[in-house]
Symmetry: C2
């Protein structure tokens, strides 16, 4: 069985949408998702608000209440049957995210066993055949085949194969 | 720089000692460490108490208050300067252990960066040059050189090179 490594934030979970939701709640303005395109994370928000926005990641329930990306649940279930599947999330930077991410996975992906979950800092330490991630720097040191999952903050990167949504993951891997 | 992967429980932290402490507190009997030798974890305790003992791992502060193994702090500090060091702990089975382990590392090993910490289920997903672990099944699938760190529950395993304490780690790696 080939080993497939899948990221959580902005691959399985709509982290960008959560930032937009929290921002709207605090500042009363709905920033359009397109405004974030072609820039590193958070750079599309007003500069004097960026530190406040980064602090959302330390707030209770920020990770617990993210929406699941469209078609992710159905496609992941079938990937789980056909691949040696691991969920690898760079979660250690945000200590309170660890149990929230476990609960989130338990709610939306109950068929994923705890043995398949990895919370790390640097992803340079994992190995596999395929990695799907929204961050170019996570793919950089990977030993297998690399796929950049499209997000507003990675549109400027051209060095990787791209998967634009879960329907494309389905086509490529199933 | 060579990548060195080090386990936490019963390598950096005295997990066995913590089981003995909690058992004594509950049942009023100090089980001698030697009684656990040459048997899988917990098998040296009375059979009708084993389920209760396993439940200690879900109790608050079980992981947070473990003692650090002798000479570990000093040796780790120097390993951290000379190796691409990762702490890899199979912690996802015990959700409440995640933040406790982070706090424990922060207290006793403040020089270890969050990027160097990995909490996983199966360790089959990590790669490196050397792995030090007390569990034979964690070493089984590792791609690099394997070292079994001596603990009561692994004395029956003969298939790996052995490191008996942190002085031996110092001699081998520094």
């Amino acid at each position: 069985m080939k080993r497939l490594i899948v990221d959580m934030d902005d691959v399985m979970a709509d982290a960008t949408g959560q930032f937009l939701n929290y921002y709207e709640k605090e500042f009363g303005v709905r920033v359009l998702r397109d405004k974030l395109n072609f820039q590193d994370e958070l750079q599309g928000f007003p500069e004097h608000h960026r530190e406040a926005i980064y602090q959302y990641t330390f707030k209770k329930d920020f990770f617990r209440t993210m929406e699941v990306k469209a078609h992710c649940q159905d496609v992941m279930k079938r990937l789980n049957d056909q691949y040696d599947l691991f969920i690898v999330s760079a979660a250690v930077e945000f200590p309170n995210s660890l149990t929230e991410k476990l609960e989130w996975l338990g709610e939306h992906f109950p068929y994923i066993h705890w043995k398949q979950i990895v919370f790390c800092g640097s992803k340079a330490v994992v190995r596999g055949d395929y990695m799907i991630d929204d961050m170019a720097y996570n793919l950089d040191h990977f030993n297998g085949e690399k796929f950049l999952f499209t997000a507003p903050h990675n549109l400027q990167h051209q060095q990787f194969q791209r998967l634009n949504d879960w329907k494309e993951i389905e086509e490529r891997f199933l």
